[in-house]
């Protein structure tokens, strides 16, 4: 029973999700960088970042023993190295290849724990990609061969670029001598020298490899489960020592391992500095690695005070002094300076973020929600005591509680730009496959939205973007004929309004074909034949189920199943949709969403003994009780007149069959829904309240007109009215006015 490797395995299992998540961030970053680089292929910083991302993925994968990821990513990394050194230009073809490779890296990472997910086809695909990568890598630095056709030449042939005689490494690579004598328990611990050998192969090029079998006893004496093998190899690799040692981490305990590389003394010092833990002081670093003696350092430091050049008032730099006076090689000083710099950067970087589990945050937010309710309850009791000091103390406390709650809700806010950036790739690929040219711009990506809402809005947004690409934007020829630029413009923007966020998808394409949509709506019976409603109503028809005017149903959208789902998803987030179509000029889709789903700014009303909450954002106006405003028109509908306009009215009392005595006076709250304004007749107005939303649960999912419940400070449960679907019921009112008249007498 070998406890160390058991512990290793447990560690791996526990840490795997974090690895997958962080590696996922790296691959996303790679994609974003690649797309940015398409606009500016020479940007050294971006190329550097790109290399580092790939390098990070490879390194972490190595720690987890994920040899497939390491091997594949290694080839990508090699090519990226050439790019950042300026030896290879990042052409669109290479960019496309790298995007495909990144997809594979992502796939391999995601399926790291599931061996069965990988298919022979994918393995072939990756092998093919590797060949293409190698071709480009080899052509780097050789301008005449830039466009060589893919050839199955293994990387070994590239050694021709090296100028030093064999057996030593090509520039940038080190030749490692690795000798490993495996312990007897190796097989029993589940390890295999053969897989370690294969893994090492993935780190570079094996110049020679020999396995020693002299310790293996004769068959009749052999215990097949005991390991008697050892091997010696020469590995030419860009990998660092830790990476190579990493290959042996699971057998390290009972394996005799020796890794050597012929290094100059200077290289050894540089390597020693890199291996050191972060030390802020240059001098200390150099002393620790033995680049300079402590006494010499002290000498140089005391001279530093005196070595101030006469011309400037600044102290001479330690590094320079050590080079000049103590004979420390410049390369060593540079390594130490780099280390210092990295240490500064990483401590700044690491401290900026803390990774938090989403469900723990939700638990805290729930508790805070209850705290708000409890605080409101305490407030009510305090008021009853009429003790001024107590009331004030309570108000103060409630104020603090609300601040904490708002701050905590704010923790869940993420910039929408992260999600928007994912669309770049889709737009690029989709436009390409449709033969359209598109300039895709993202504006206001820093605007923040609740994390769960961002996740839920991503699909509807994607659909709308695809709709613009598919139906809105015209092919280049058609655009030119219409006097437009051949490339269409598609803008995805986000902006904050009070308590809400406005997400806008704007294109400069054809706009909505009003006539065709109207005809279609007539054909489908969505609008009565011959009736021509307003442009707004016609435009919104495209969101009706089963609707599509596309002549050919394309793969992406236009099958009619998408747009109604888009609308429903947005409404489920308590958002609303508005279209602005300019025929021939373009289409703007506006989506307004509340900032969070957890709390609601509400307007509390009462009908009988029941209390209801209206979303404050939907309330337009309140007509206070002062007489009977609501009357019955000639069609039997209940309506109210407001400054010359006649609005339909929902009478909550009768609609919901509320039991209690009829009041003398009622008020009407005028609300706005996507279909227009209407009034809601209520009995008591109780003012604004910010309350916590409690979803009603599955049992109530078919309920119309109600979107959730809310627990008030008194402990009572109030129902939250859904202004949109309540408005639909008004239309239903029209057809069942007889049902309304049974309870009351109308004036």
């Amino acid at each position: 029973m070998h406890n160390a490797s058991d512990a290793d395995r447990d560690f791996i299992a526990a840490a795997m999700p974090a690895f997958i998540s962080e590696a996922g961030e790296q691959t996303e970053a790679i994609e974003t960088l690649l797309l940015e680089l398409e606009e500016q292929p020479d940007n050294r910083e971006l190329l550097d970042s790109l290399f580092r991302c790939a390098h990070t993925v490879k390194g972490s994968a190595g720690i987890f023993g994920l040899s497939k990821v390491v091997e594949f990513t290694h080839h990508v990394e090699t090519l990226l190295d050439k790019c950042r050194d300026g030896e290879l230009a990042l052409t669109p073809e290479i960019s496309t290849l790298l995007l495909q490779c990144n997809d594979q890296i992502k796939f391999l990472v995601d399926t790291a724990s599931d061996e069965s997910a990988d298919t022979p086809d994918l393995k072939d695909l990756r092998a093919d990609l590797v060949i293409q990568l190698q071709v480009y890598t080899e052509s780097a630095g050789k301008p005449t061969q830039a466009n060589a056709a893919p050839v199955a030449a293994p990387i070994a042939a590239a050694a021709g670029a090296a100028t030093s005689p064999a057996p030593s490494a090509a520039p940038g690579l080190t030749l490692w001598n690795i000798s490993a004598r495996f312990g007897q328990e190796t097989f029993r611990n589940g390890m295999d020298p053969l897989s370690i050998a294969k893994y090492l192969k993935g780190l570079g090029h094996i110049q020679s490899m020999t396995c020693a079998i002299d310790a293996v006893p004769a068959l009749v004496n052999l215990n097949p489960e005991t390991c008697y093998l050892s091997f010696v190899m020469e590995l030419e690799s860009a990998a660092k020592r830790e990476e190579i040692e990493g290959a042996f981490s699971f057998v390290a305990d009972d394996c005799e391992l020796d890794i050597q590389c012929p290094e100059s003394a200077e290289q050894k010092l540089v390597r020693a500095i890199e291996d050191m833990p972060a030390t802020p002081r240059l001098g200390d670093m150099l002393v620790s690695v033995g680049a300079v003696s402590q006494s010499k350092l002290t000498e140089v430091l005391s001279n530093q005070e005196q070595s101030t050049p006469a011309t400037s008032g600044q102290k001479a730099k330690i590094g320079n002094l050590l080079e000049d006076k103590a004979g420390v090689a410049p390369a060593v000083v540079e390594a130490a300076l780099n280390k210092q710099q990295k240490a500064k950067e990483s401590s700044g970087e690491e401290n900026r973020f803390i990774r938090v589990q989403a469900d723990r945050l939700d638990a805290v937010i729930n508790l805070l929600g209850e705290l708000v309710i409890a605080g409101a309850g305490a407030n009510l009791l305090a008021r009853e005591t009429r003790n001024v000091a107590l009331i004030e103390a309570n108000l103060h406390m409630n104020g603090l509680i609300e601040e904490i709650r708002n701050g905590t809700l704010g923790l869940r806010m993420v910039p929408v730009g992260e999600t928007f950036s994912r669309f770049r790739r889709v737009v690029r690929d989709t436009a390409g496959s449709l033969g359209k040219e598109v300039n895709f711009e993202i504006v206001g990506g820093e605007a923040e939205l609740d994390k769960s809402m961002v996740e839920k809005i991503a699909d509807p947004l994607m659909h709308l973007v695809r709709n613009s690409l598919d139906h809105g934007l015209e092919p280049p020829a058609e655009r030119v004929a219409a006097g437009k630029t051949p490339a269409g413009k598609l803008t995805l923007s986000a902006k904050h309004e009070t308590g809400a966020i406005l997400i806008r998808i704007e294109d400069d394409g054809r706009g909505i074909n009003r006539e065709r949509v109207l005809q279609r709506a007539w054909n489908k019976g969505l609008i009565e034949q011959g009736v021509v409603p307003s442009d707004d109503v016609i435009n919104m028809m495209i969101f009706e189920a089963g609707f599509s005017t596309a002549e050919q149903v394309t793969n992406l959208s236009g099958r009619g199943v998408g747009m109604d789902v888009v609308k429903r998803n947005i409404e489920a987030l308590r958002g609303n949709l508005k279209l602005n179509s300019r025929p021939g000029k373009g289409l703007t889709v506006d989506i307004r969403l509340p900032l969070t789903l957890a709390i609601i700014d509400g307007f509390l009303v009462g009908v009988g003994k029941a209390k209801f909450v209206l979303p404050l954002g939907s309330v337009v106006e309140v007509i206070e009780a002062g007489g009977q405003h609501v009357r019955v028109d000639k069609n039997g509908r209940h309506v109210v007149e407001l400054r010359g306009n006649v609005l339909p009215v929902v009478r909550l009392r009768s609609l919901y069959s509320v039991e209690s005595t009829l009041p003398e006076r009622t008020s009407v709250v005028v609300v706005a829904s996507s279909k227009g304004q209407y009034g809601i007749e209520v009995e008591v107005l109780m003012g604004q309240q910010q309350t916590v939303i409690k979803p009603l649960g599955r049992l109530f999912k078919t309920l119309r007109g109600i979107s959730g419940s809310s627990i008030l400070g008194s402990g009572e449960v109030a129902l939250i009215l859904d202004v949109g679907s309540l408005g639909d019921l008004v239309t239903a009112d029209l057809h069942s006015s007889s049902h309304l008249n049974r309870t009351e007498v109308t004036p």
Partner: protein, 177 residues
């Protein structure tokens, strides 16, 4: 504030005794004159009936929703669910808070009953399947008839009597009717 008084089911008479080894414990309650039993393992607590918020447009068996320490729980009127006239509130009316549904997707419901009696043990061998006819409630809602002394008590099958999907379907019918 809320008028709820909670009483953990385990403090009811009989809960601590478990005469036979394989007997399961059931909570018995009455609806009108009849006594029913329900598996105690899914009972969370029993509360006095208090203020309930009516949810409009729901079928009669959904009497309303209550605030249970910050969670909103729907209350089902069992009489109404079994197709009888809805329950009248009496002195002993209470609400049994109950878990129903598949593992990982459990829903909390409140069951409105006329009175709660005691916890009893019934061995599996003492349970007979419901007769093909003559039951006072729908046969599918009955898990079995438990013999207690000289009488039979109807043991409910909550996964069918309180099946959320069934109730949602009924709600939908009610709305479009």
């Amino acid at each position: 504030m809320s008028h709820a008084m909670t009483a953990a089911a385990s403090f009811l008479p009989g809960a601590q005794r478990s005469l036979q080894e394989d007997a399961l414990q059931y909570l018995t309650f009455s609806l009108g004159d009849e006594v029913f039993a329900i598996d105690i393992r899914s009972v969370r607590e029993i509360i006095q009936h208090g203020s309930m918020t009516v949810v409009p447009l729901m079928p009669e068996f959904v009497r309303g929703i209550i605030n249970l320490r910050g969670a909103v729980v729907p209350v089902i009127d069992l009489q109404s669910r079994f197709g009888r006239p809805k329950a009248e509130f009496g002195k002993k009316t209470c609400v049994i808070i109950f878990d129903v549904g598949p593992e990982g997707d459990k829903v909390e419901l409140g069951l409105l009953v006329d009175a709660v009696s005691e916890v009893i043990d019934i061995a599996p061998s003492a349970i007979e399947p419901p007769p093909p006819f003559g039951t006072t409630i729908q046969r599918e809602f009955i898990r079995g008839l438990g013999k207690v002394g000289s009488e039979f008590i109807v043991i409910l099958e909550p996964e069918r009597a309180l099946n959320i999907d069934d109730m949602v379907a009924l709600t939908e019918q009610n709305l479009t009717a």
